[in-house]
């Protein structure tokens, strides 16, 4: 079994861009939430700027000149911003189009229809019906995943797409925690109070993990628990641990199909084992930021190792 | 005569490029006027054998150098037995038919000046062979040999109008003029032993071949105003200099390219 290297790369990036579109929708959802109740000494605009930072779009906005509306539009519909939702769909669809034959008809048609309907994301809709727009984006992504899940052959191509999704998701979760880590530092606990709680829960909103949190911890919010859920809890589908569990599975499947193992297999397994050996207390003890920086670097390295191993 | 030839072409890339592909027509064909006794072509020290023989009767090799490519050195060397056949090409295994050599190329499109030159060659009448010699004389007279005056992309009309050029320009003008008369004509690249050059550091040479009724292909070298002799070695042919290039390259990457060509040609046994 083998696949055209470009096909593998296109599937990998198609999945990454779709995941990025969805992550962006969640971040926008979080932004809308925190902006309604800004922290003390902070404006709604500051909150939106921090969303842009979490989305990796800080370089794209002029921090002084951009209004709230400009930031929202920039994150959702601006094609000039390569990470906007519209751009991500555009690029995912371009990747998919050049490997159309590697997708099922149903999966392709789902993505193509999303692309055809991008025009519906008008400026006024984005500004006045933001929650509906976010829901639409999440819905389209879910529909594609459903179509792909139900119809794609479980071959190497499927795994390349899956790896793209997981690498992107791990990156998003890690970066979100990193941008927000000051909110989660233990010192802020001293301040306590509702605004902080609001900040913490907004992180859970951005990862669609609010309900999961209640189920797992059933108690008050605390930074340790939030970080534990998103980093180390393997049952939370947006957690770092979950992503690496799945990455290892996908890579193992590829190793079986190809009869060969590469550096990426070793790295991913080592990362997963390290996650298993980590206690949340250690993370805070040695420094959350340092931990995240290292994890983000490792995730990028793994992405390159996968590309090298499979010649794309 | 036996001629010993060493033809080295070196491309340098700064910065290094990802890959360089070269297409080589560096294998002198065998026909009545020449016979290679020993001949090798190497790229960066690796011997390269031809893959097929094209319609012109020339053997062609394609070779790729990949990785961080900072330099590509192509060396063709060997000994060729030559005979003076008065420029007539006999016994070449070729499939291209004369009629194919009537088509103009961007470099050999005739303008009114070239057409007038061609008609001038006919004025004194005589046989077609005599007229062809007259055409050669005219081109020799109108275009002084001067290096650096023209470049590889210079067209025949520009070369004639400028009145100076190198062997490529002479050949292009002869070809364009001949085709304007309905005479099939082609471009030939090769080597030439110039007595006055002392044998070292000359570049490759080029001349035209015209199809003359009843005789066949005959070489005309307007740079030297003579038909090829046993001092000539024929490498390859084509519709013009671009088509008959002994070396074509394709570079993947964006390094600045520097080129250095050396041809050493001596009577065999007289090598330094």
């Amino acid at each position: 079994m083998s696949t055209l290297s470009r096909t593998a790369a296109d599937l990998f990036w198609m999945a990454r861009y779709l995941e990025r579109a969805e992550s962006m929708a969640r971040l926008v959802e979080m932004g809308a939430r925190v902006a309604m109740l800004p922290a003390r000494g902070v404006t709604a605009r500051d909150e939106w700027r921090s969303v842009a930072l979490a989305a990796g779009c800080d370089g794209y906005f002029d921090p002084e000149a951009s209004s709230v509306d400009a930031i929202i539009l920039g994150l959702v519909v601006d094609r000039e911003n390569p990470s906007s939702i519209a751009s991500c769909f555009e690029r995912a669809r371009a990747n998919a189009r050049s490997v159309r034959t590697a997708l099922s008809v149903q999966a392709w048609e789902s993505l193509n229809e999303t692309w055809l309907r991008l025009d519906e994301l008008t400026v006024s809709r984005v500004l006045h019906e933001l929650p509906q727009v976010v829901d639409w984006v999440k819905g389209r992504c879910a529909q594609f995943r459903g179509a792909a899940d139900a119809t794609l052959l479980r071959d190497d191509r499927f795994e390349f797409a899956r790896l793209g999704l997981l690498i992107e998701r791990a990156d998003t979760t890690l970066r979100l925690l990193d941008v927000k880590h000051f909110v989660l530092l233990p010192e802020t606990q001293v301040v306590g109070g509702d605004p902080d709680r609001h900040r913490w829960t907004s992180i859970l909103v951005a990862t669609s993990a609010l309900r999961a949190y209640h189920w797992v911890y059933r108690g008050d919010y605390s930074p340790e628990r939030i970080v534990d859920l998103l980093l180390l809890n393997g049952s939370c589908p947006r957690s770092y641990a979950f992503c690496y569990g799945e990455i290892v599975q996908a890579l193992e499947h590829l190793a079986r199909l190809y009869g060969a193992r590469h550096a990426c297999h070793t790295s991913a397994a080592a990362t997963l084992a390290a996650i298993g050996d980590t206690a949340i207390g250690d993370v805070f003890h040695t420094g959350l930021h340092g931990f995240l920086t290292e994890a983000i670097g490792g995730n990028n390295r793994l992405s390159r190792e996968i590309a090298t191993a499979y010649h794309f | 005569m036996q001629l010993a030839i060493r033809h080295r072409t070196r491309y340098r890339y700064d910065p290094a490029v990802a890959a360089v592909g070269v297409r080589l027509k560096l294998y002198p064909p065998t026909f009545a006027a020449q016979h290679p006794v020993a001949w090798t072509v190497a790229v960066n020290g690796v011997a390269v054998a031809p893959g097929f023989r094209d319609g012109w009767g020339d053997q062609v090799a394609t070779h790729f150098v990949r990785g961080e490519v900072a330099a590509v050195e192509i060396e063709a060397a060997g000994v060729v037995d030559t005979r003076d056949e008065a420029g007539v090409v006999r016994g070449l295994r070729e499939a291209v038919r004369p009629g194919m050599c009537l088509r103009a190329t961007p470099r050999t499109e005739a303008d009114s000046a070239i057409a007038a030159l061609a008609r001038e060659a006919l004025e004194d009448g005589g046989t077609q062979l005599q007229q062809a010699h007259r055409l050669q004389d005219l081109v020799t007279a109108r275009i002084a040999y001067r290096a650096g005056h023209t470049d590889g992309a210079t067209t025949a009309p520009v070369a004639l109008a400028s009145g100076a050029g190198v062997c490529q320009d002479h050949a292009h003008v002869v070809i364009a003029a001949a085709r304007s008369l309905g005479w099939p004509a082609r471009y030939v690249a090769g080597y030439c032993l110039h007595a006055e050059d002392g044998g070292d550091d000359v570049a490759t040479h080029a001349w035209a071949e015209l199809w003359l009724d009843g005789i066949g292909w005959v070489g005309f070298d307007a740079s030297n105003d003579l038909c090829p002799t046993d001092a000539y070695v024929r490498l390859c042919a084509g519709l013009d200099a671009f088509d008959a290039a002994p070396i074509r390259g394709h570079v993947e990457g964006a390094g600045a390219e520097a080129l250095d060509v050396r041809v050493a040609i001596h009577p065999a046994g007289a090598e330094q």
């Binding site: 083998s2 055209l4 010649h311 | 394609t62 291209v96 038919r97 009629g99 194919m100 009537l102």
Partner: protein
């Protein structure tokens, strides 16, 4: 004017089923179905990009629901003529790249071939596998009467449109199952398998494993990209771009997740001049450096062969009936449209004095561009063409304005007659394979004779009845 459905006394026999179906369906239902079909096409991404025209870069070709029907006997005669032509064109190509017997015999002028831009000296003396150059021959036909078919043009390079033949049928079968239940229509869905078999036939080496065939596309921005990906998918072949391929060690390789994989056959949908920057245009990014030499060394097969275009030139076209006699010793089954070659002085004079009744075409033009329809053109347009012809006569041919047959078509104002042409696709490998069907193009504007999709033409499903 000949209408293929409506004869003097009711529907002509092949169309009886369709006529009855139209009567029972009613216009409103038909219009609803039309919209449904358009949604289906758009959702599956079947589009045809037209460049330099602005607007939607992924435009749909309008699909007309009313099928075009050939009876069994009509098809048999057409098929014989198509196959005959495909054989003669390939014999011609082999000949002109070798000894040129037809030129020596004075049947076809030497200059027309040797000085043709599509003639490639790089192919001289080379024997492609099976001596086949044009593996997919698309022959454009028009009908002017019940038994009168004429060839308008041959396409020997990479004729496009076959995906529409296949998709149109899929859509029709999905939307009108009852229609197919009541008519015996020959299936067309074997085409992709036959194309694959044709490609595999042409592999330079035959070993224990199936040859690796790929479809080489210029990429997603090409107008026919949909077709490239569709055919690759249907054949189970990789759809590759130049950057997926490379030459090394005298062979062609594609880059896969397992490393390089040897390629045996390339169905290339890029033009000759872009194939190989080491041989043709040095600035080509669509081709693969070294490809031609691997091909000439017999280590990969290109489909179609470079230089095959010299057989479908509009001036060479005039001589196809002569080719059929010369190579096959047969009388042509299908006739040409009478054609004046402006290169010939007496023809040119006729053309210039009859511009108002002729269709003038550029010899190297295609897609309905660079064309003058004399009777429809303004005096200024005709004068412009007269100047162009005088300047470069060999670049033009002229033909009478034919009265193309019509087929009922759904228009915004009900069902009306619209002119059609027909392009069947003939596959030439070690054997010749012809799918019973083809692409029917329809000029959607009333009275228009231009059916090209780039000029607002539409398409129809084409039926060949099996009884």
């Amino acid at each position: 004017m000949f209408d293929e459905m409506n004869g003097d006394d009711g529907a002509r026999p092949p169309y009886c089923g369709v006529a009855h179906w139209l009567d029972t369906l009613g216009l409103a239902t038909l219009d609803g179905k039309r919209r449904e079909a358009e949604t289906l096409f758009r959702r599956s991404g079947i589009t045809f990009a037209v460049y330099g025209e602005g607007g939607d870069p992924e435009r749909l070709i309008p699909f007309d629901l009313i099928p075009r029907v050939f009876g069994r006997d009509e098809w048999q005669r057409l098929a014989a003529g198509i196959v005959q032509r495909a054989r003669a064109l390939n014999a011609f190509l082999w000949d002109v790249y070798h000894r040129g017997e037809i030129l020596r015999a004075g049947v076809v002028p030497e200059a027309l071939v040797y000085r043709n831009r599509a003639f490639l000296p790089e192919m001289v003396g080379f024997d492609p596998p099976g001596r086949i150059y044009a593996h997919i021959v698309g022959i454009d036909l028009v009908r002017t009467g019940p038994g009168e078919f004429r060839v308008l043009e041959d396409n020997c390079r990479t004729p496009s449109g076959v995906s529409y033949m296949l998709e149109n049928r899929e859509i029709m079968m999905r939307m009108f199952p009852e229609l197919f239940a009541g008519n015996r229509v020959e299936p067309v869905d074997g085409y992709a398998d036959q194309l694959r078999a044709t490609l595999e036939d042409m592999a330079p080496r035959h070993g224990p494993r199936a040859p690796v065939c790929v479809v080489l596309t210029p990429g997603p921005f090409n107008a026919a990209y949909y077709e490239h990906s569709y055919l690759a998918d249907q054949m189970g072949a990789e759809l590759v771009e130049a950057r997926d391929l490379f030459v090394d060690d005298g062979a062609l390789w594609m880059k896969t997740t397992r490393g390089p994989t040897r390629v045996d056959v390339v169905y290339r949908r890029i033009d000759d001049e872009f194939l190989d920057p080491l041989v043709f245009r040095p600035d080509s990014y669509l081709g693969v450096a070294g490809l031609m030499d691997v091909y000439r060394a017999g280590r990969v097969t290109l489909v179609s062969a470079p230089g095959a275009g010299v057989a479908d030139d509009k001036a060479v076209y005039c001589y196809v009936p002569e080719m059929i006699r010369f190579y096959l010793g047969e009388a042509p089954v299908l006739e040409n449209v009478p054609t004046w070659q402006c290169a010939l002085p007496e023809h040119r004079d006729h053309v210039l004095t009859h511009l108002d009744e002729l269709v003038v075409k550029e010899v190297h033009g295609s897609g309905g561009y660079g064309m003058l329809i004399g009777p429809r053109a303004s005096a200024a347009e005709r004068a412009e063409f007269a100047r162009k012809i005088a300047h470069d006569p060999a670049a033009f041919i002229a033909q009478p304005t034919l009265s193309l047959s019509t087929v009922p078509t759904l228009t915004p104002r009900g069902i009306a007659s619209r002119h059609v042409d027909f392009r069947p696709f003939c596959l030439v490998g070690r054997q010749i394979r012809l799918t019973p069907g083809g692409l029917t193009r329809v000029a959607l504007r009333e009275g228009s004779l231009v059916v090209n999709s780039s000029q607002g033409g539409g398409v129809k499903d084409t039926w060949v009845l099996s009884e």
